[in-house]
């Protein structure tokens, strides 16, 4: 830990020097490559330090990102951090592919129905509680001032649908970091992924009703079409990409790591442009490969692990650097209240609805469902973009809530996996010793 901390301190010293020199220049560059290099190297060493003090490496990545980012000490320019969007998309696809290779048909048959019912129940429960709470907290929410009751109900539903969302990226990253295996891990990952599908439906419906309440038209056909395209279109296109990938992996074979990165880029960028979910695209593609060819799936996993470390470190450190701490300060009280209410709702819902076997699900599942990250940020920015009258202020509140969840979530997920006894002690020891 000491050696990693010294190296991290030296890196921070260099960044301070560069920041000092930057002010001597009239027109410094955008700093995209600088932000990437600084976040990656600092992230790697911060991860080691975090691991040494028994925290998830991911927390180390996030914290160092916050520290050196534009909202921390300001070593990195905001423009540079914003320019790392491509890496974020790549990481989400890569993480989803890692999860997809675990989605075997046998697993889906065994837990599929139970997971679908459980995640729907939890989402609905948390949605209703958050919706009600937002309506009760109306006097504390300035952007709801002057809204009619119908409008408040619609806007409350919209924000509640965002608050329900989980973080597949954080969950899968923690599962990978701890090499956790077992029924609890399997169930947790499935609930988080399927839960986000329910959230997509909830959000799309709530957004349509909010638009209608603010004077727009409620077009149910286009609403259903949009949801259908995003869900089933993603699965279909993802499966198609899976077939093409399988042909490449079996026939051409060369440059597998490069191919994987290219495929993830394609899914991340192409998915957004075609209004498809990059997460679902990658999941479907990887699941198809895993079910069609076990050996290729294993090779794919090896390549994901090979390219995964720098991409995950950079992704989460960049996520930390993008966290708006000032948002927490602005709407701190309401944000903390909402975090508490959401946590309680998840706990009650998952305890009530989880199956009896294994026993760990009832006790610990809620801890794995607290994280929020990229998906929620994405939904919050959609709210800001589509609803200019109240969206910007609502986004500040949502971002503050996600920021708090992003800091607490990984710790709770790891605690849940450890208490469930599914963490590989060798993997944890290895990450600590590096």
């Amino acid at each position: 830990v000491k050696a990693a901390a010294i190296r991290l301190a030296l890196l921070l010293g260099l960044l301070a020097l560069v920041t000092g020199a930057r002010f001597a220049r009239e027109a410094p560059g955008r700093g995209v490559a600088f932000s990437a290099g600084a976040l990656l190297l600092c992230g790697l060493f911060a991860g080691k330090v975090a691991s040494g003090v028994r925290l998830p490496r991911l927390t180390g990545y996030l914290l160092i990102g916050i520290l050196i980012g534009p909202y921390g000490v300001g070593f990195l320019p905001a423009e540079g951090v914003a320019g790392l969007g491509l890496v974020k998309g790549l990481a989400v696809s890569l993480i989803a592919m890692a999860a997809g290779t675990e989605l075997r048909w046998a697993v889906l048959q065994r837990v599929g129905t139970r997971v679908a019912v459980l995640s729907a129940g939890i989402c609905l429960g948390v949605f209703v509680v958050c919706w009600g709470s937002l309506l009760l907290l109306r006097p504390l929410l300035p952007f709801m001032e002057g809204m009619t009751l119908t409008q408040s109900i619609a806007v409350g539903a919209l924000l509640a649908s965002v608050l329900v969302s989980f973080s597949p990226t954080v969950t899968i990253a923690i599962l990978q970091e701890t090499s956790a295996k077992g029924p609890f891990s399997e169930f947790l990952m499935a609930v988080v992924i399927v839960g986000d599908l329910w959230v997509m439906i909830l959000f799309a419906a709530a957004a349509a009703f909010t638009k209608a309440s603010l004077g727009g038209e409620l077009d149910l056909a286009s609403l259903a079409g949009g949801i259908g395209w995003e869900l089933f279109g993603s699965l279909g296109v993802g499966a198609g990409l899976g077939i093409l990938s399988l042909i490449y992996l079996r026939r051409i074979r060369s440059e597998r790591a490069l191919f994987l990165i290219g495929l993830c880029f394609l899914m991340a960028e192409g998915g957004v442009r075609l209004h498809l979910s990059p997460l679902l695209l990658a999941l479907a593609a990887a699941a198809l490969i895993a079910n069609a060819d076990q050996r290729e799936a294993e090779r794919l996993n090896v390549n994901i692990e090979r390219v995964g470390l720098p991409i995950f470190a950079l992704f989460f450190a960049a996520a930390g650097a993008g966290l708006h701490l000032h948002a927490v300060a602005e709407v701190g009280l309401v944000a903390v209240l909402l975090v508490g209410i959401r946590m309680l709702a998840i706990r009650v819902a998952s305890r009530a609805l989880s199956p009896r076997e294994p026993d760990s699900l009832r006790r610990l599942l809620w801890m794995g469902l607290i994280s929020q990250a990229g998906v929620t940020f994405g939904l919050a920015s959609l709210v800001a973009r589509n609803f200019p009258t109240f969206g910007a202020s609502a986004e500040v509140l949502l971002v503050a809530v996600v920021t708090l969840h992003e800091l607490v979530g990984p710790l709770l997920t790891r605690k849940a996996l450890t208490e469930a006894g599914e963490v590989d002690p060798h993997a944890v020891a290895a990450t600590g010793s590096h």
């Binding site: 030296l10 410094p28 560059g29 490559a33 290099g37 290219g262 590096h434």
Partner: protein, 403 residues
Amino acid sequence: VQALLVFLLVMTLSMVASDKRVLEVGRRVQLAQLVSSGLLFLLIGVFLGPRLLGLFPMEAVRGTRPLQSIALAVVGLLVGLNLMPQLLRKLPPKLYLGVGAQALLTFGVVALPLAVILTIAASGDWGKGIGAAVMLGACASLSSPHVSVLWYRAGRIGRMKQLSISLVAMLDDWVGLGVLAVALIFGAGVGLRLGAGLAAMAIVFGIACGALIAYLLAATREAAEVGAMVMGSVALVAGVSSYLHVSTLVSAVACGATVAIIGGRMSEDLFRWLLRFERPIFQGLMFMVGVQVDVRNPWVWVLLTAFVAVRLFGKHQGGRVAKVLTRGVLVLPPRLGYALVAQGGLSLCIAAEYLLLVDHPMTQIVFDVVALAAVVNEALAARLFNRAVNLPASTQVISQVSA
């Protein structure tokens, strides 16, 4: 999206162009030679770029600047890491004298006449005019050893001769890089003092990054972590220099050289890791260079003809001097200058760097000339190499070896 396009395109082209069947089919158009030198990607870039087909618009070119910096950093680090102080110390002074004379003579033959013309063309802005001429001189002085390596692999020249030619071609890179620093001093800043300050800043930050990277790598054992660290190091070196708007190439060379001097075995690890990515990164860089070339300016073609002719003359004369000065030290062919005609990728990196840093209409012309000259010189290199070593003219060797 731009980065994605470049990545996918270069990846696909690289895989297709490396296929033996494709190389066999493309033997007539010297496809293998273009692939092995990376210039195929430059030509594709020229055709797809905003000045010809326009499939890759100007906005997209600007969007790939961070990637370009990273590619330049990789090239610079490799050049710096190639610095082997123990080996260099063992080389006789006569060798340095010969190599230096060859490179500086070519530099002078090209830069002096062009300085006058370019200063007039730059409306009397002598700083920019001299900077541009110095740049052309620097790029002219560089040469690539790859033809000698291919000829050796085909069994057409002996080991000693190949090593001697390669040594001359490799050592002149240092002259070129030194001259780049001088050109940037003249061209990048508002005044000479600021230009010198920026060059010094690039070197100081390069050394600081190098020392830190060597220290960071020393504590890293696991392969995945070393890989991640190497990626981070490359991005850091590229990022610091492009963020401060100083030369990435100079900074990265200083960084690589520092790691080579103080890093011990770490420098070998770093070198090996970088070599894994070198090929796709270099091909990507060549593509990005290509899309920025403006072939529509008639002055470029005039200057290109003059540049190629004067450089050939300079290399020929420089080669004669080097042969005399290194007698008894190196086994050089009768017409050494003709063996040094291939311009190599470093000259394109220098030109790309100059385009990034010096904002002046003259810069674009210099860049265009150097990029197109690299293709012309590559086409001449194989034929002239045969003349240099007194072999019958044949271009089959490169196709055979590359395939």
